[in-house]
Amino acid sequence: MGRYITRRAGYCLLSLFLLSLTIFFFVRVTGDPAALLVEPGASAEDIAAIHHQFGLDRPLWVQYGLFMWTLFHGDLGQSFYYQTPVFDLYMSRLPNSLMLAAVAMIFSLIVGIPSGILASVRVGRFWDSAGKMFALLGLSLPSFWVGLVLILVFSVYLKWLPSSGAGTPLHLLMPAFALGWYFAAAHMRLTRSSMLDVLGSEYIKLARLKGLPEALVIAKHAFKNALIPVITLAGINLVIMVNVAVVVETVFAWPGIGRLLYEGITFRDFPVVQGVVLLGGAMIVLVNLLVDILYATIDPRIRLER
């Protein structure tokens, strides 16, 4: 177990290293970072000063060392627009993003799990096809368009819900729906295939042979075990939701991390963009590590693999 965790943690560190290298590389290669770091309209002397200040006139590997050094000190630079450290900005927005993701997750599970079970119990019949269609729609509709149409219907025509901003629980409803829609489809698909796996197993056959009513077999015996992969995916997806909510947060002006990223893009606030991407990637790498360790604890067979 200890060796397994060490190896996984090693891969994780390697991933973080590659992540920082990728971001560093792209910023330096695709143009002069000084041009991105100064505010638009700066003079040539200002740019030269920035070059010196950030050590851009030094060799690349020294630059990378400096970049990592500041990173290790939790310093992601200063936002141009807000004039505050990027890390503080990120942390002040994180609770909003988490709240939105949590509500969207609850919605996606409420929709995804029952419809997945229904589809698995009625394989190849009407509810299965309906579920398949729903999943396809979930994958084919851009979430920002779902958001815009929701605003059109519920804010402009019906005037039931506020179109943007935050503050009351009502503000949460539409963004959570737009964000959760895609994930509901994913959760439905996984619930269905996981239920089918379990329903084909020996102990379900035994439960049926014992003469248990079908509803009990599905609700008590199959559902419990089929839920494990779904809950795992949901855990990972929660973190992914926080990171892909950019468009939904932009549409609804929800003050989360995605909105911060969008502001970073529009104001050419480069440290913010870089910081959000770095922290988001790191968050996902760490959650993957956590899931790997959790799985290895539950299922000893995994430790022997690879």
């Binding site: 891969y11 390697l14 991933s15 590659l18 992540l19 990728t22 971001i23 792209f26 910023v27 695709t30 143009g31 991105l36 396809l136 729609l137 994958l139 084919s140 509709l141 851009p142 920002f144 368009w145 815009l148 149409v149 605003i151 059109l152 804010s155 402009v156 025509y157 179109s163 295939s193 992914i240 990171n243 892909v244 950019v246 468009v247 932009t250 549409v251 990223l261 969008y262 970073g264 893009i265 529009t266 480069f270 963009v273 870089q274 959000v276 991407v277 988001g280 990637g281 996902i284 790498v285 993957n288």
Partner: protein, 302 residues
């Protein structure tokens, strides 16, 4: 295809024309006709955009701003689907937008497919440190949320249609690399590859002539499924202002423009481009699903 005379009759084992028809029906009976027709129509519209569009998509008349579609009061047949905030014809912009979506979608899938397939084959066949390096990079990039990564790249590279193609290719090649590598791992243990080694083929010719043709099927299936993802990502980037630059008519950009008129109830600026995206992506996904079942049953778990 439905009449027996069109069917090539094979000499053995003496299938009657009717049986051949039935076999074709089993193989292609569930062919997704409507999605294919939609994608073909979009492709034709994209090609003949210059002939089809009734107005110039980038120049509008400011006297005709925010005109509704023709069936609403205030609309006219001159602007069938209405006009936007600069008085540009929505229908013409949709038609030219099809061109952007098609070109970006197909080119990005090609770039991602070629890069991912080549790296997947190298990784799977050569093994060793090459495999280690390629797979570590793939894992890391897969871990990043694709959308955030694409936004990040687009924000530093700057907006242009061809930049978007490269960015999407760079973002999505990892999915090909993973799947293709897995296929190659099992292919390289097969008899025909071993025989080729015995016959003295070089590594490169084995990869190019024996492995590649066997993974093309999977690459095509993945490509058709990726088309939808890529089109949505392009629309998202354009919507956020880091995709196709403004005067050009892209569907994502139109949605972004339409946001201004949304609260006042100018619904046509939001509904029509979104419907176009949905139709195209849904069609691509349906065709991809069909191809997946037909060409590669092993990929069903994907």
């Amino acid at each position: 295809m439905s009449t027996p005379s069109d069917v090539v009759v094979l000499p053995s084992p003496s299938p009657t024309p009717r049986r051949a028809v039935r076999r074709l029906a089993i193989r292609f009976g569930d062919f997704p006709v409507i999605p294919t027709a939609i994608l073909l129509a979009v492709a034709l519209v994209a090609i003949f955009a210059n002939q089809l569009a009734p107005h110039n998509p980038e120049i509008g008349s400011l006297t005709a701003r925010f005109k509704p579609p023709f069936w609403q009061t205030g609309g006219s047949m001159k602007y069938i689907l209405g006009t936007d905030q600069l008085g540009r014809d929505v229908l013409s912009r949709l038609i030219f937008g099809a061109r952007v979506s098609m070109v970006v979608g197909i080119m990005a899938v090609l770039v991602a497919g070629v890069v991912g397939t080549v790296l997947g084959i190298l990784s799977g066949y050569l093994g060793g440190w090459v495999d280690q390096v390629i797979m570590r990079v793939t894992d890391t990039w897969l871990a990043l949320p694709a959308l955030t990564f694409a936004i990040f790249l687009a924000a530093i590279v700057g907006p242009s249609m061809w930049n978007i193609v490269i960015i999407l290719g760079v973002t999505y090649w990892t999915r090909y690399a993973r799947v293709i590598r897995g296929e190659v791992l099992s292919l390289r243990e097969r008899e025909f590859v071993r025989l080729a080694v015995v016959a003295g083929c070089s590594k490169w010719s084995i990869m190019a002539r024996h492995i590649l043709p066997n993974v093309v099927n999977s690459a095509i299936v993945l490509g058709s499924l990726m088309l939808g993802v890529v089109i949505i990502t392009e629309a998202t980037l354009s919507f956020l202002g880091v995709g196709v630059p403004p005067p050009q008519p892209a569907w994502g950009l139109m949605l972004s423009d339409g946001k201004q008129g949304l609260m006042v109830g100018y619904w046509w600026l939001t509904v029509f481009p979104g419907l176009c995206i949905m139709l195209m992506v849904l069609s691509a996904n349906l065709i991809g699903d069909w191809l997946r079942v037909k060409l590669d049953p092993q990929l069903r778990q994907l």
